[in-house]
């Protein structure tokens, strides 16, 4: 092959340095460290130190002309009325909150709307479910479709709050106002993302005290709080993606209790507790070291986490359908699709749990906004 020589010339630099693989000699994802209970103490702080180096570089990488558009954003927000829908939100406003509005609340294409449609189909029994999909399908039909359903209707130890999807119906307006009300440049100025908008723990290698990032997307401009959505939500989201020992599925976080409701497994209780501890450390350090102590950003970050967890639940349901879930199998070579349903349930469960845990932080801001 005559071209091999040409390619060898091109790639010889890389070939000579084959030991320097991304992630070090034994790369591990940060999410695997979290799941195994190792993302604590010095390891956790070292990872955060490395991630903050990345954040500061991203702040520096934005060109001066790209950084500040906050006044235009505020003017546009002032023009939003009760009749404004998510579909009317401009690209500028949408990108100011990490493109979360149209993606989730668009009245036709939004993920939350699609979840409701799937919930409706599950509820009326128009989808074809395998025996293993029947239980999660039944749970989801209540979670996302049944009006005034409460978490305690489904989960043995959950609160009596209404399921989150109904409480989130119009919350995009509050999120926008919260984001625009912040004052510090670290909160309002945009960074150049370097394609790292999906930079959660599951997309990071951490080894020998060094952080590497993978699974990048297209670069864009976003304020830092919005950019941090995936990083922060991944502390909880990662638990839904723990692989089973055979690597073919994800660990189911739930078991049926004696009262025929779901409860999280004992192992999950331990892991979730660790996730909260690590999340709190990351959140505290972000507020102090990156956002220069602007406490109001804390509630916004939590809101982003909740929205993204619900959004990922919707993603899982869409993925389930795309792979043939809910349809007759025909020649479908995919099996074990029920894992997508369980992962969606986990995302919704933990989103509600986070919302409940940090309700004071989120409510505090909303109350002060109303007072103003």
């Amino acid at each position: 092959m005559k071209y091999v020589g040409l390619y060898s010339d091109t790639f010889c630099l890389v070939g000579r340095c084959s030991q320097s693989t991304i992630g070090g000699q034994k790369p591990r994802t940060a999410s695997s460290l979290l799941i195994s209970g190792e993302l604590v103490g010095d390891t956790l702080h070292a990872l955060i130190d490395q991630f903050f180096d990345v954040l500061r570089a991203l702040q520096e990488l934005a060109l001066p002309c790209e950084k500040n558009d906050i006044e235009t954003v505020r003017k546009e927000i002032d023009q939003i009325t009760d009749k404004t829908t998510a579909a009317d939100v401009s690209p500028l406003l949408d990108s100011f909150v990490g493109k979360a509005i149209r993606k989730n609340w668009h009245p036709i294409r939004g993920r939350l709307h699609i979840v409701r449609e799937i919930g409706f189909a599950l509820n009326e029994g128009s989808l074809v479910l395998t025996p293993k999909e029947e239980l999660p399908g039944k749970i989801l039909s209540v979670l996302v479709w049944k009006v005034r359903a409460r978490m305690s209707d489904i989960f043995a130890t959950a609160s009596v709050e209404e399921t989150l999807i109904f409480r989130m119906r119009n919350s995009w307006r509050g999120i926008l106002r919260h984001a625009a009300s912040l004052e510090g440049e670290a909160c309002t100025h945009r960074i150049w993302t370097c394609g790292l908008t999906d930079a959660g723990l599951h997309n990071m290698f951490f080894s020998d005290g060094r952080l590497w990032l993978f699974d990048l997307g297209e670069p864009s401009l976003q304020p830092l709080p919005a950019f941090l959505t995936k990083f922060l939500m991944s502390f909880f989201h990662a638990l839904g993606m723990e692989e089973t020992s055979d690597g073919k599925s994800w660990v189911n976080r739930f078991v049926e209790s004696t009262c025929h409701k779901l409860e999280i497994t004992d192992a999950t209780k331990v892991k979730l507790s660790s996730a909260y501890e690590a999340f709190d450390v990351a959140l505290d350090r972000l507020v102090v070291e990156i956002f220069e102590g602007e406490e109001a950003v804390r509630g916004l970050l939590v809101k982003y986490v909740i929205v993204q967890l619900m959004s990922d639940a919707a993603f899982c349901l869409k993925r389930w359908q795309t792979k043939g879930g809910g349809s007759k199998s025909y020649d479908n070579h995919h099996t074990g699709l029920e894992k997508w349903l369980w992962r969606a349930i986990w995302d919704m469960y933990v989103a509600t749990d986070v919302s409940h845990t940090y309700s004071e932080i989120c409510l505090e801001r909303e109350t002060s906004e109303r007072d103003q």
Binding site: Y3, S8, S18, A57, E60, C194, E218, P219
Partner: protein
């Protein structure tokens, strides 16, 4: 592979390949990106099915050391495979994945015009784009449309290229400009694909003068990938997408 001896420029040059049964078209197109030189090159390589990883995955036959990689929650199949002595991470992905993997090239390009110190900080932590492999089998039952549709995609790119006063094809300027034409030639054995501004010639022939390969720059590749993504979205096609497992900028340190 069926031997065809039509001369270049033959009226039936497209028809020649379109008539070839899929089992006989066992070469795929490897579009490789070199971030250090900022150039893309094109090559036809023998095709291989990696059915042990996934029944629809195809790569160049010279790939080695393949294995499935764990992780990732999106459901996209990700695997490792060594090509030309380079360890690569591959995705068997659709148009969204193509966009995401190609974004690495865009990032590499963008970093050049931003803060040098901060750019180095990022370069040392991220992978880089290596290429896209298009197998005839990626085009599934529509394989016979492959070259027709690819031709249209390249034509669009060629037209955009011609319309842009800033773009030029690396290494092919003077001799081609004399003919008021730019050209990429893809050669492998008896297969040859010629792309000219305003026209594309696809035919099988003996390459008497030996293989010739030309390369293009980032802007050109970007348009081509954009066209490929449109096709993927339209036909639900998946390609083999490669990124380097090395942050070679950091290796040089």
């Amino acid at each position: 592979m069926t031997k065809h001896n039509r001369p270049p420029g033959s009226q039936n040059e497209f028809q020649t390949l379109l008539e070839a049964p899929i089992d006989e078209v066992e070469y795929g197109l490897w579009i490789a990106w070199n971030g250090r030189t900022g150039t893309a090159s094109f090559e036809l390589l023998p095709d291989k099915n990696l059915a042990n990883l996934h029944r629809n995955i195809h790569t160049p036959a010279c790939i080695g050391e393949t294995r499935l990689l764990k992780g990732g929650g999106s459901g996209t199949t990700v695997f490792a495979g060594e090509l030309f002595s380079e360890k690569l991470v591959w995705k068997h992905g659709g148009q969204k994945d193509t966009g995401e993997v190609f974004a690495l090239a865009e990032i590499e390009h963008e970093l050049l015009r931003r803060s040098a110190k901060a750019a180095d900080e990022l370069r040392s932590r991220i992978p880089c784009f290596r290429g896209v492999y298009l197998s005839p089998h990626h085009f599934r039952v529509r394989s016979q449309e492959l070259w027709t549709i690819l031709r249209q995609a390249i034509l669009k790119w060629a037209k955009d290229e011609a319309d842009s006063p800033h773009n030029s094809l690396h290494g092919s300027d003077h001799s081609l400009n004399k003919r008021n034409s730019r050209q990429i030639s893809l050669c492998k054995g008896q297969t040859r694909v010629d792309v000219h501004t305003g026209s594309v010639r696809v035919f099988l022939e003996d390459c008497d003068s030996g293989p010739e390969q030309r390369v293009c720059g980032y802007d050109t590749l970007k348009v081509l990938v954009s066209c490929l993504r449109e096709l993927q979205a339209k036909h639900f096609w998946k390609f083999s997408l490669a990124q380097v497992r090395y942050a070679f900028f950091s290796i040089e340190k």
